[in-house]
């Protein structure tokens, strides 16, 4: 079965009224997005700020419901799943944010933060935390340290450890390497490739940087103003882009 199916997903937001008695304008943040993602594969979601890529990620994570269309995870429609069933399914899809400093509690040990998704399903287990730390290239003893004791790249490793501790089949990485320095970015990209091969992870990789996306993704979906500009294999998008907008992104990334 296909791991993740996104079918004609549309999300609209009502904008504030511009004047009394005028109907509020409606912003279509995501307009009929459609894609599939298989186990062990990586899909890149590329667009500039305001393109709707994060909104789409929020719907894949079931933080938000689509106005139209369906998000199917292992065949289950996340929007109509009862709350208890959704909670039971959550360990199977996890999110890594851009800023690990903002997403880790500074007053708790990283071991506590990594165990958070385990506690949510009552399976707090130190052995799992230690294993996750080692899988991301840290030491199991690091569990007792606090976020400020780590460098930026190590903190992102901690955030990835938290995401994989529940053995998910899907990882959503929202600009997960954008805040990192160049020399550290390559380390984290390699880590994601390692984890993908070891654990058979599917990755939804959201980024504004086409050269990063091209280095790790099997296929790419390009978004602009909520609409899908182009969707195809990395090879096709990078070597034979059909749309002028895609070509402009390739130029802007300094790839031509």
């Amino acid at each position: 079965m296909t791991l993740l199916t996104v079918e004609n997903v549309t999300r609209r937001y009502r904008m504030p009224r511009q004047a009394l008695l005028t109907p509020p304008t409606v912003l279509t943040a995501v307009d009929a997005a459609t894609f599939t993602l298989e186990r062990g594969e990586t899909l890149g979601l590329v667009g500039e700020s305001g393109s709707g890529k994060s909104t789409l990620a929020r719907m894949v994570m079931a933080f938000e419901k689509p106005d139209e269309g369906r998000v199917l995870f292992e065949g289950e429609d996340l929007a109509i799943l009862p709350a208890a069933d959704l909670r039971a399914l959550r360990p199977h899809f996890q999110l890594v944010f851009q800023d690990p400093y903002g997403s880790l509690n500074p007053r708790r040990t990283v071991g506590w933060s990594i165990a958070e998704p385990l506690r949510a399903t009552d399976q707090d287990d130190r052995a799992l935390v230690a294993q996750a730390l080692e899988q991301v290239g840290l030491r199991s003893a690091d569990a007792s340290k606090y976020p400020h004791e780590f460098s930026g790249g190590q903190r992102q490793r901690v955030a990835i450890a938290r995401a994989i501790v529940t053995r998910p089949s899907l990882l959503v990485a929202d600009e997960a390497v954008s805040a990192l320095d160049m020399s550290v970015q390559a380390q984290i990209l390699n880590l994601l490739m390692d984890l993908q091969e070891e654990l058979g992870l599917a990755i939804l990789f959201i980024s504004h940087d086409l050269s990063v996306v091209g280095s790790i993704c099997d296929s790419i979906l390009i978004m602009e103003y909520g609409r899908t500009v182009e969707y195809g294999s990395t090879n096709q998008i990078m070597n034979a882009p059909k749309q002028a907008y895609t070509r402009s992104l390739i130029t802007a990334a300094g790839l031509i």
Binding site: E48, M182, S183, A186, E197, G214, S215, T234, G254
Partner: protein, 316 residues
């Protein structure tokens, strides 16, 4: 001509910049490349006399013959804007949010040149045209939040140009912008430097932008200039092991899977940039360098042929 000679910025025993020397001539476009925490922003701030109070600046910084190391804030204010001006990374933070854009741009013109409001307005419009802001009349009346990030950055560039500086320092001017907008701002800065024969110090971590905008570049690591040369040479034949590692670690967008489904890993530099408190005393790259020999950590290498490294070129 503007020159830095053995310029050092220290916080106690920690040197954020160590013996940095370079000269800037009219029309030079120089890229400054490095990772965060390596000292590239500190270099920009030292060039414009805005280092934090706790910093001790030593060495020499000559702005057209005037020694600026140890200069008073008053003499810096004379030099700033006319000799050197700076564009910062975050255009929203650099503009007063409760002032109309026009007032922000006109104020320095009235203060520095004693222009009347009417003259200052005329000059502001000319500057907006020079930086290609569409509908400049309307922009003058708007507030910063009403214009896009790219337009705000253009306003700041116009502001920095208002006193016709000899050197414009742009510190990560495109980092907060979308790729297409960033490209246009990069091109704008390069064009302004050419049109005005103004020097440009383009500080960025983005190698593609530096390649596009500059003729020469400095690579900075741990407060040292580890490599310098023409941008084309440094990017095509990097000499310092750090520059080599940095260029190799760039993600390749054509990284297709090999047979068996494996994907090629990127070459990496082990570890991360050392913090100011943990800088090695010798070569700053010691501890991360693949070619390290015994004297690297203890002894500072001397510069030869555009790079500082203990090893002869053939062994790197």
């Amino acid at each position: 001509m503007i020159g830095a000679y053995n310029l050092t910025v220290a916080f106690g025993a920690a040197q954020a910049l160590r013996d940095v020397s370079f000269e800037v001539h009219p029309g030079d476009r120089i890229g400054v490349v490095g990772e965060s925490g390596c000292g590239k922003t500190m270099l920009g701030l030292a060039m414009i006399g805005m280092t934090p109070d706790a910093a001790k600046v030593s060495g020499s910084l000559l702005l057209n013959g005037t020694e600026m190391v140890g200069a008073s804030e008053n003499s810096w204010q004379d030099q700033r804007a006319r000799r050197v001006a700076m564009v910062f990374q975050e255009p929203m933070a650099a503009l007063n949010p409760i002032k109309r854009i026009g007032d922000s741009v006109m104020e320095p013109l009235m203060v520095h040149f004693g222009l009347s409001r009417k003259q200052a307005r005329k000059r502001a419009l000319a500057l907006f045209e020079e930086v290609a802001i569409p509908d400049p009349e309307a922009r003058l009346k708007q507030f910063p939040h009403e214009v896009s990030g790219g337009q705000r950055q253009r306003v700041l560039i116009a502001l920095a140009l208002s006193c016709d500086p000899e050197l414009l320092i742009a510190d990560e001017p495109t980092t907060a912008l979308d790729a297409n907008v960033a490209l246009r701002i990069t091109d704008l800065l390069a064009r302004l430097a050419r049109d005005r024969t103004m020097a440009l110090l383009f500080i960025s971590h983005d190698l593609a932008a530096v390649a596009r905008a500059t003729q020469d570049m400095l690579v900075i690591y741990g407060g040292d200039i580890v490599e310098r040369g023409s941008t084309a040479d440094v990017l095509s034949q990097p000499k310092h092991p750090y520059t080599q590692g940095l260029l190799a670690a760039r993600p390749s967008p054509w990284n297709v899977r090999e047979i068996g489904g494996r994907r090629k890993r990127l070459p990496t530099i082990p570890g991360s940039v050392p913090s100011l408190a943990n800088l090695p005393t010798g070569c700053r790259f010691a501890g991360r360098c693949p070619f390290e020999i015994s004297r690297c950590a203890a002894q500072k290498p001397v510069e030869r042929e555009g790079t500082i490294c203990h090893l002869p070129e053939a062994e790197r």
